[in-house]
Symmetry: C2
Subunit: 414 residues, 2 copies
Amino acid sequence: MLKFDGDKIRVDEQQKRELFEMICQERSSGAVGYYDLPSSSQQLVEQTKEFAKDLFADIVVQDIVIIGIGGSSLGIKAIDSFLSASQSSSKTLHYLENSDPLQIIRTLTKLDIKTTLVVVISKSGTSVETISILKAAIAHFKIDLMGSKRLICITDPDSALDRFAAHYSLKVFHIPPTVGGRFSALSAVGMVPLTLAGYNTLAMLSSAEEKLETFFNYRDHYILSRAVQIAQSEPDRYIHILFSYASALEDFNKWFVQLWGESLGKKDSNRRRTKLIPVALIGSVDQHSFLQLIIDGRLNKSVTFIDIANRGVDLIIPDLPLPFLESSDIFNNESFADLISTQCSSTMASVKQSGTAVDKITLNGYSEDDIGELIIYFELLTSLVGLLLDVDTYDQPGVELGKEILYQTYKEKK
Amino acid sequence: MLKFDGDKIRVDEQQKRELFEMICQERSSGAVGYYDLPSSSQQLVEQTKEFAKDLFADIVVQDIVIIGIGGSSLGIKAIDSFLSASQSSSKTLHYLENSDPLQIIRTLTKLDIKTTLVVVISKSGTSVETISILKAAIAHFKIDLMGSKRLICITDPDSALDRFAAHYSLKVFHIPPTVGGRFSALSAVGMVPLTLAGYNTLAMLSSAEEKLETFFNYRDHYILSRAVQIAQSEPDRYIHILFSYASALEDFNKWFVQLWGESLGKKDSNRRRTKLIPVALIGSVDQHSFLQLIIDGRLNKSVTFIDIANRGVDLIIPDLPLPFLESSDIFNNESFADLISTQCSSTMASVKQSGTAVDKITLNGYSEDDIGELIIYFELLTSLVGLLLDVDTYDQPGVELGKEILYQTYKEKK
């Protein structure tokens, strides 16, 4: 169970109740599918395990390469990077997402198709990066498509990619069409590759389900209060900083930036442009970078700190007094785990003292439970803030124009 | 030579001239040392090469581990990550910066001291992370300090770390005391490790020197105009986004965020808090994340795109029409290098059309020339904007309070 601390929030009961009813209505409308994933994906995980047993009896797989971008890679990476800090998965995950040729070549050349499984993920099958990289992978690995066991597709039912998979009799897992890309971490998008890699995805889903059920039974008022606070303070405090005190949360930070930015960076129903902006930092390193600006820059920010209570492995700072470096001897015999957590609380105190709103989420450890609950917490928070700001949390109309110009450029070249 | 494009900037001659005189004055005051580095560090590089020849004849070095944080690691990483995309350095650089125990253990355990050189970097020798990790490294590798050839120090003359090095007869390289951490990439901080790793640091310095001399001969008006534009639009456009279209620029992005945020996120001489905020993105991936918010969120941003003209290696998208995935066939036979650059220009066009200010820097390739010029460009731009905003660009008073609270916490524990 995560622990939530922060500035006292005063939100009256009626506001919370109204907001709660709005999200219940959104859930019962059936238009937003991610609310059902923590329970519905459990069966999917069981099916994936059965599939994996047969597949891995048939072919050798040491590496799994994910071809996908945005919502089709950020969630998997966030969870994989976090969990792999403290455990080894049975297969190693790799990612092909950027259209950068150096990056693609570097990843392809280090893999051997005799021990690699290719997983292509796209809700529609139209992302230029994903399909172009898929073609490059097919050519590089000389994959014989018909009935290939080395290529799996994860996509919406009846999408272009789904039809492609059916045409070649490839294994396909479906994403519910009502689940948007950036809310899809707990769908087949995240659960299939992570199960294949050997992570305990069922624990992740159970933990998310418990959080979700507590929330929808109106027994989690903290998250409702946070959402009201964020929406109410939007004109003044619109820069939302996630300050994560663990290197393994760097990909989670990127997942958060997409979730928050793409969901809430919108025109509302009155065509008013929202102000909210996500920024994500890693402690302690970014104390030596962005912190100065939080303290002395304009007071338009709120900072959510993430700490980890039990880091599993630890390292003691040796009791090694070094001549002339005595100013650091106060930390001798202390543990790095204690140091980084104390840096987190000290920085939080200094940020609060400077007049910036703060709160803190403490994970218990580096487990599937922790990351499952953390993901559903931020998804619910995003949905709630979206309702209060009166935006369509689940679309992304702003990204279309650039794509149109790209296609137009190539059409004119032909 | 970099290429600079963007919206037309109208800045009158007198404003430019005044600003130019301000920066000339700052330079001639001698208080800001980084202006001299492109020329003065050339001798340092020659000395480092001589030193390296002797050292590597004496001991085997395959890996170099940098112990340093903030300005003592970000610049090295930025350059190393960028250059290693297209060339192999003769030694591999590793970084120990965060106080995260999992990260420290992971890095230490993959290194063998028989083939590793430890480089500890700190201007003062008081950073808690740096000194505590140094102690952990000494204990882990069982380094016999007196006269050790496996440990090098880079620090200010007469600092605590300098005295420590002298005490144990360790090799030390000095940072000019007038060069601040985040402006130190071209000092011993960056040049010594990168020279030891085998990069052509002289080319980097020559390129930076050429840019600097052109600027100080009043023959580079673009950068003056950009600075005036940024400072003038600060009340409205204060979120400065660097959108770099190359995976290898991810660490450069982090270097930029520190440079911009820590230099300009300040109270000015009237105690007014500045608004400027840096955000850094990677294309094409972040088109699927932050772009939505740039287009439809509040119009308070400007975006600098970075593209690379010649990516060296390339990969052709195979002419492989796939059934049902025909919508992407327009890219068949095109190169990924062309695709990512066209994504850059298409996204730039869409951002401009949405009403956001844009400009673009095109690097010629992945060379030392490119990165040297890019670094000095952003350093000069930061200094100029700092002068116009009337802040002390070179201090960081905001980070002290958190440190005080940290030390106080440990003092109370004892």
